[in-house]
Structure formats: structure tokens, C-alpha cells
Symmetry: D2
Subunit: 308 residues, 4 copies
């Protein structure tokens, strides 16, 4: 099915996009992110029929940041009934920056979706309520999905995030004031920042997220990660809310369910076919990897794989 993909083609796409490097801006709200080399550019693909492709800096680990919001949602969907989750967080695009409190106040503490900060914090609050060691458990899940034993948190990034956590603390406390946050704010923020501080490379990310392309199944695991319906639902959520305020523009240009992080990573899914991970640290104005989107746009065009 992916007959026309090969490493050479991926390299050619990277070369085509490379002139964009220098036009974006590496996230600089914490020193640990600001020091990343803006020239990095990598891509990896895992297909449901077992092929692996890669090009550029595909094996260099980076901070996955908000890409982890998908993983924490998956963890919550395995611990909670559907109703328990969706009465506390919505499924619709927010139309607001990812860390805004405006809408959250108007809508009385129920975040629009699990991929904005407020929504991810509610999900982390739910995990804290049900898991005995949520940070350790997340590591186990990711290592298992990825099949790589040494995936780890970047303690420096996590600590630095926590030291700059005022905005997220405000979000958590606001939700608490509406009864939609149950655990200690500081504890949950620590978990949240650790998840964001997971270090993974493109190959590991593509491998980890392959189950979303394959109806919830990870090839090397005996039990399904999620059901086929849940995989489809998570993809739907990524398609409408995975790229911060830019979901519509991204659908227009690329047309794939995807989730980005301010570390410059983006994971995209071609349902029934493949998981793609790209990395380029420089961000556009909405916080998405500028060159990363361009790589996905090229790839989607060459493969003819927009879902629309």
C-alpha cells in the first residue's frame, strides 16, 4: 500500500522544505527548550504492514510536549468509562489559544477538548485519581507502545516547566473553583509536565502511535491498545483539535489527523495505513512546527493521502 514511499523520497521532501528553516522561532518560554538547535529536521514513518522509513534527524530525541496529550487521553480512556471522561471535558475546537482562560471561565471550568492545556490537565487529574503511580505508569505505557526500554522523562525540562507553571496553575485552580479538578494542583502539574517532558525521536513516535492507524492494535502487543472505534474517535479529535488554533488551516493543507507539540514534533495518522512523525523545532505563530507542517503537506500531496 505504501509502495511509493522510500527513504529517498523522504530525504527529497526534507531538502525541499529545508529553506524554511530560519523563518520560525524555537519555543523559548523555558531555557531547556530555547537551547534546541533550530536546524534539526527529521521524519519517520511506520506502516501497518510493518515497513519503516526515515530521513534526517529521525533518531535524535526531543521533548514531545503536547503530543503527550494524546497519550494521557489514551491512558484515561483505558481507565474510565466514556461518560466519565466527556462530562468533564468537551470534544470541540476551542477557537482560542491553547492556554487561554477566557473560554474556560465562560464555560464554567469545562475545557473544550483534551488537547488544550486545560483539557489535558483535567485528564491528568483523572489519571491521578485512578493510578497509583501515574508518572511511572505513563512511562510503562509509552515504553510498551514504542517497544523501547529507555524512553524517559527529561528531568531538567520537567523542572523548568514547573518553575514556569503559573499560567497552568491558574488554569487548574480555575477548574478547581468550578469543581472540575479533584487532586492537589501541584501534584497533577508535576505529572503533566513530566508527560510533556518525555524525550522521544521520530522513529519512536511513529512506532508509538501506529496503533491509531491500525484500528487500535500495536503490532507487537497481544492486546489492543484501544478499540477500533476509539482509535477512530481519537483520530477525529486530532483532526479537529490537534493543531491548536490551526486545525482548519492544517486540514486544508495536509488533511490528516495530527497532534503537535511546542518541542517541534508533529505526529500524523493516515488511517489504515501509517503513522508519521516529523520534527523541526522552529514554530509558527500558533505554536506548530513551521517546517514540520510543510513536510507533512508535501508528503500528503505526493502520497495523495489526505483523508478528505
Amino acid at each position: 500500500m505504501a509502495a511509493n514511499i522510500n527513504n529517498h523520497m523522504l530525504e527529497s521532501i526534507l531538502e525541499q522544505v529545508r529553506p524554511l528553516l530560519g523563518q520560525g522561532k524555537v519555543a523559548d518560554y523555558i531555557p531547556a527548550l530555547a537551547s534546541v538547535d533550530g536546524n534539526k529536521l527529521g521524519i519517520a514513518i511506520c506502516t501497518v504492514d510493518g515497513q519503516r522509513f526515515q530521513a534526517g534527524d529521525a533518531t535524535e530525541r526531543f521533548s514531545i510536549q503536547s503530543i503527550s496529550k494524546v497519550l494521557s487521553l489514551v491512558a484515561a480512556m483505558r481507565q474510565y468509562d466514556e461518560d466519565e471522561i466527556w462530562q468533564r471535558v468537551g470534544k470541540d475546537p476551542s477557537g482560542q489559544p491553547f492556554n487561554s482562560l477566557l473560554q474556560l471561565e465562560i464555560e464554567q471550568g469545562k475545557p473544550r477538548n483534551p488537547f488544550i492545556n486545560a483539557g489535558a490537565l483535567v485528564v491528568c487529574d483523572m489519571l491521578q485519581s485512578r493510578l497509583s503511580a501515574p508518572r511511572q505508569r505513563m512511562l510503562e505505557i509509552v515504553r510498551q507502545l514504542c517497544g523501547v526500554a529507555d524512553i524517559a522523562y527529561d528531568a531538567t525540562v520537567a523542572r523548568s516547566e514547573f518553575e514556569h507553571s503559573a499560567r497552568n496553575a491558574a488554569i487548574a485552580w480555575l477548574m478547581k473553583s468550578f469543581g472540575n479538578f479533584h487532586n492537589d494542583v501541584s501534584t497533577v502539574l508535576q505529572n503533566y509536565f513530566h508527560y510533556c517532558a518525555l524525550r522521544m525521536n521520530c522513529v519512536e513516535l511513529a512506532s508509538t502511535f501506529l496503533f491509531l492507524a491500525d484500528q487500535g492494535r500495536a503490532p507487537h502487543l497481544s492486546t489492543a491498545v484501544v478499540t477500533p472505534l476509539q482509535a477512530r474517535q481519537i483520530n477525529a479529535l486530532m483532526a479537529t483539535s490537534g493543531m491548536y488554533q490551526n486545525a482548519g488551516e492544517f486540514a486544508w493543507r495536509v488533511g490528516l489527523p495530527a497532534k503537535s507539540g511546542v518541542g517541534g514534533g508533529i505526529v500524523a495518522i493516515v488511517p489504515h495505513e501509517m503513522a508519521i512523525a516529523v520534527w523541526s523545532p522552529e514554530l509558527d505563530a500558533t505554536g506548530n512546527s513551521l517546517a514540520g507542517i510543510a513536510v507533512l503537506e508535501q508528503l500528503s500531496q505526493r502520497l495523495g493521502r489526505s483523508v478528505y
Copy 2:
């Protein structure tokens, strides 16, 4: 490809969904819409390989309302270069009710997307600038796409809308104050309300929108309606902004690009396969057909045709 669809299956879905009738609310902001029978329920499907299916009230015409926003966008994409359009209207979900002025004021008169009222009004303003008789031209386009000669505006609905047009007039004047509306407000509102007042039935709608499923081609037309890329882009826009504030929930449940109208119609696209039109006049809280969504959810599940 659509081997498992047949009229009996569609009838069975309608029966399954019919108990929902009575739980929504027919649009009542103008008398001409308020008087519609809330028990109507119909569906029609046109496939790219020429098959036609239908069930229920599929041949009874109704007011297509905001579904027309796709048609006016298509008309504009045929008259304007891409840049000319998208500097005046965005492509991202609004996260706000379809007729809100809040975001429009903050974002200085540039609407988030062409499927909220503000965006559609900008598109109509663009058509007024380039077409000599925009109302007549739209009729020609629709009749041609649909292959039905007697498609017409419902003059009563159009007049009634115009008499209750204060909110849309406020939107247009606000855009004018930011320089993003060029023609006479009243004239453009008249066009806009006529487009909304198009009367079509499910069979006609499915037929009209088939080009979006078939890479821009309408089977009976010698020239493409839009390019394959444009068809994909319009579908992407419907997927992220076609269901008012409910794009995420709809993607989660149904997983198809779609556009709804307060007349109770919804058009949905299965790319490369078929166009679907459903009709049930009672609306949910966000203004989408309550039973219509349920019909599409059933159909998507039975066919396994979510795009995600």
C-alpha cells in the same frame, strides 16, 4: 464499492432513528421555517459510480439554509484567486456560535471561516463585486450541478429572513467598519438570504454535492466544478467548520466532512465514494439536525466509512 448500501438499509436506519423525533426543536426565528412539519425524515445518497439510493422524505424540498454557504464558497473559488479569498476570511474553527460578533470585533472584521454567517457574508460580498447578477448566477450553478431545472428560491423565506436580518446586518456593518465589506449591505444581505432560501430535496442535494466526493467532477458536466485539490480543501473545511460549534463532536460520532443548515438538512461527503443528504427539521442546541446527525452516525458505522 457501495455494495452494501440499498434502500432497505436506509429505511431501517430511518426507523431506528425515528424515536428521536420530538426531542429537538424546529427553527422558529422566522414564521416560514417554524411551520415546517417536525416529523419529516429523509435521506438520499449519490455514489461516484452512478448509483442512487433514498428513503423517507427524500424528495420533499426544504430550505437548505447554511448548506448554501458551501455553494457560495464554490462560486467564489471559481471567480477569485486563492489569495484574494483567504486574506478576507480564515479557515479555522471559530469556537463561537455561528452568528456571534465577539470574535469578529476582536479579530478586526476577518471572519474565522466561510461557514459562519460573517464568513459567508464576506463571500457573498465578493460575489456581488464580480458577478453581474449573483442571484440568477447561483440559480444557474445549482440547477447545473443538480441537473434539475426548476430549483428555485423560496421568496417567502427570503423575505422573512430579510425582515429579521438585524443581526446579520450588524455583522456586515461591523466588517464594513474594518474595510472587509465592499458593497451595499442591504443588497448583499438580499443575495445571502436568497441563497439560504434555496428549496431542494435530499436527492437533489446529494446529486448537487457529488462533485466533492468525486475530486471536483460532476458526472453529467463536461468541465470540472473545482480542481481535485479544491474539492479536498472544501471537504477539509467542512470537516473542521461545517457543523457550527459541533465540529469535534460530529467528527467523533460520524467522521465525515459535512455542512448543516437550520432547515434541518445536512450534506455529508465520503471522499471518493458518495455524497449523502439527510433531512430532519428538528435541531439540537447548536442548530444542527438532531435526528439527521443520528442517521449519519448509523450510516457511517454500518458502512465503516468514517474518514478517520
Copy 3:
């Protein structure tokens, strides 16, 4: 009572403030205002015991703009019962720019107070409903209050305002959509812009507004303009909402009920003592006369006449 006021003192205040000229910005949203000489600076005072003082450009007429909002409110208070007015417009500070639609949409078309544009437009709508020739009637009222027969509208300014009226039209239409605007939008806007286009000088303004300092009585009129209670209430409204978003800062610095206009005029009241009018066309960031406020601050300090 005003023993320590004299023209020399006023001249000395003007000299002290004159260095501020050049630091503000003349209103430039219409050509007719943009062409005003920014170096103008004048002040006039009328006391309840019949004294008159003046300095600088006190006899040069300018566009009174929003100062007219007090006059239209007075006209409405003479035509309507209290309840009829205050169910359609509030009495509290808006905390928003004078021409914002945000709050108006959230609060369903009821403006916060009669001194923001929305509130003044509702008042003008009320006058249109009750007066046979509202524009002529306003001229009569002002000429009578002022005792000057040739007070007139500046037709060029009124026309120019109307040509740039999109924002105010949006406000009026939004209120109409909530049922809080009854007459033809265009007609009421014309009235509103004519009131704003009244040309008066500082001497005439101080004379016109003296009734607010004298419990509703104008010295040369046999009947009261408003009741003592109403005079007190209008002063209260000016104190909390008369200086756009700057009511608190102005109360802190000056401490007098006042109403400003983007023509650079400000009328201030020392209850039971005097009416003051200042003029300096350059505005600060909130749209108030920059040097005008400074003049009033000096005067208030020298006289010890803050009401607080």
C-alpha cells in the same frame, strides 16, 4: 464663592499646561476633525452666581461630539418616565472602549450607560419616537440653554461622520436584533451625527451646562431644565461614565463630574458652584482631551474643588 477665580488665573493654568500640546493626537477618523489645529487651548467658566471667566481660545467653536450625549439624555429625560429610559439603557461604567460591541452582545443589546455610543444611540432612538423633528428640537434646546441664537450643526462634519458610520450602524443593528432599537437605523444615525456635529465654543458650553451646577435651573429660563434630583443624577452619571474608560483615573486626578468629546472639548461641573468648559483638540489614548484634563486637574487643585 468663586472669589479666587479670575481670568488671569485661568491664563496662568493654560500657560502651565501648554507644553503638553504635541503629546496627544487630533481625532482623524474623519477629515473634518483631522484638520483642526492641535494648538488650540481654551477654557470658560460660568458660576451659579452669574460670573463669567475665560482664557485662551474660549470663543472659537469646535465640534462638541460626545458632549452632546448629555444633551440628548436631558432631552430624553424630559420626554420619558424614568423607568422607560432605564429599562433600555443602564447606568454603570462599561469598562470597554466607547464603541465596542462585545459587551453589548453579551448583555443582549442593553448598553451599559447613555454615554457610550450604544447608549446614546438608544437615547436618540427614543427621541426619534417621541419628537416630530428631533434635529430641529435639539437645536432649539441648545440655543435656549445657551442663550445664543446661531448655534448650528456643522453639516460637513455630520455628513462625514455618516459616511464613516459603519461601526455605529453595526451597534444600532445589533441592538435592533435584540429589540432595543425601534426606528430606522439610518434616520437615527443622521440625528445622532448631527448632535455630535454641534459647533459650540467654551463660553457657550459652560453657559449651556450651568443648569447641572445649579440644581437643574438655567438662570435666564423661567422653568427648570430638569429637577434638582435629576441634575444630581446626571452629574453622578458623568462622574462614573463621562470620560470613556478613564472615569476612575479622571476622578482620581480631577474629581469632578465631566463629559468629554473627541473634538477635544470637556465639560465639568462643580455642583452648586459652576460649569467649566475646556478645549484642546489633541486626545490621549482613551479619546479624552490630553491637555484639557490637565487644565481641569490644575483648576481643581487650585480651587480645592474636587467633590471627593
Copy 4:
């Protein structure tokens, strides 16, 4: 000067207003406030020439709540230069509920004025930076101003407030995210809630706030509390922002600088004449004492003492 005031007159006003009891709602967000008897009604007046008047429950202590915001501002004005304070908090009405985060996010963490929660929290943060024991210091200030040695914090109320402090914590953290909050959030909240939990009666409040009526001087103290200019400025701030969202309506009805608290107390100032304290625990929709405002309205009318 206050020749026409006497205790009998105050009692007569209380009787006139008493029928309003039952129409408001005692604050119930913490149990310690919810249990207060809604039928309490008291008033006390201290004049600058040394007279004392009182009626009703004037000697029963209650939780002064937001009235303390004036005291903390006074404390800050004695510790900081003017510029240091007003670069961190504004002076203008907010037009928003007292505990809203909306405006605070839009205006990047600078509260509109020191009498909304956000502004008072910034002031408390400033006190924490400069005072070695801010809670003890505030007690000393109040006891000194009041001349009563046993004024104390209600520990139950303070603790209960702290347990329900999520909203205020969100506000503080949001300001911290903008760099406008320097100390430990929890510590400052504790101070803030203790100030709110001061228990005082009407007689003590009128006595404490007399300096604002007397140009900054407290009769029994050898040094001025604040300068005459500062007293005037604080009164101005109360006049424009002291009654939550209701500043305009209160100025219209009563016409005096005033500050209310959700414990049902209101302190009002007649500049150069007297300080007034009223207490009635039932609140109106904006959080001000319903009967308390009515008492002040009656008093203002009978005395003819509106400042406007």
C-alpha cells in the same frame, strides 16, 4: 454641620427600609457567612466635628470582607511611592464581576483597580514584600484607626475562605504568569483572607474610616493617616469602583464614595463631614447589601449630601 442628624432620624430610616429584608440573599459561598442572621440592620455615623450617631445593630460585629480592600490600599500607600503602586494596578472601573479572570487575561495581568479581587491581591502581594508581619501590622493599623484594642480576625471565616480559595488562587497565579505577583500565592491568600475576616461593627467602621472624610486625619492620632490629596484620591476610587459593577447605579441613587463587602457592610464617606457605616447581610445580585444601599439612599436624600 450635621445639625439635622440624630439617632431618632437614623432609627426612622431603618424602619422605612426594614421591609426590604427578605428580598436579598446572605452570602453563602462559605458556611461561616451563610449562617449570619439576615434580619440584622444597623447604622453608625462619625462626624469630623466629633459627633457619634447610631441605630439598630450598630454594635454587633460582622465580617467586613471587601471593605478591607480600602484598608490594605491605605497600608500600601503608606509603604510605596505612587508610581510603584499604579504601575501594577489601575484606577478605572472594571465593568466586570469582582472575581472575573476575563479582563485580567486580556489586560495581561494588570487588574483594573484595587477594589476588585485581583487588584486587592496585588496590593496584598505588595504588603507581603515590604512588611515583616503583614497580618499583625494590619491589625495594629485597624486598632489604631478605630481606637479599639480588641479588633480581631475571625479565624473560622479566614480558614473557611482559604478552603474555598480556588478562584482567587487562579487569579493570583494568572497574575504571577504575567510577572505581576511576586510572593508565595498561598501566603498572600492567607493574608488577604484574614483582612477580609476582620470582625468590626458599624460604630467601629465609621470611626476607622473617618480619616477619609477629614482630609486624611484621624482625630485621636497625632500624625495624618494619609495626605489630604490621598484621602481625596481614595474617595474618588471608591466613588468609581467601590460598589463592584454597580458604581454608576449607586452614584445615581446615593452619590457618595463608598465601599461594600459581601458580609453586608458598606462604608460611605461625606467628604469634609462624616463617615457612615451600614450593615445588612442580605445582598443584591451584584453582591452589595440590598437594604444597606437603601439606608444610604434615604440618608443621602434627607441630608442632601450627595457629592454630585
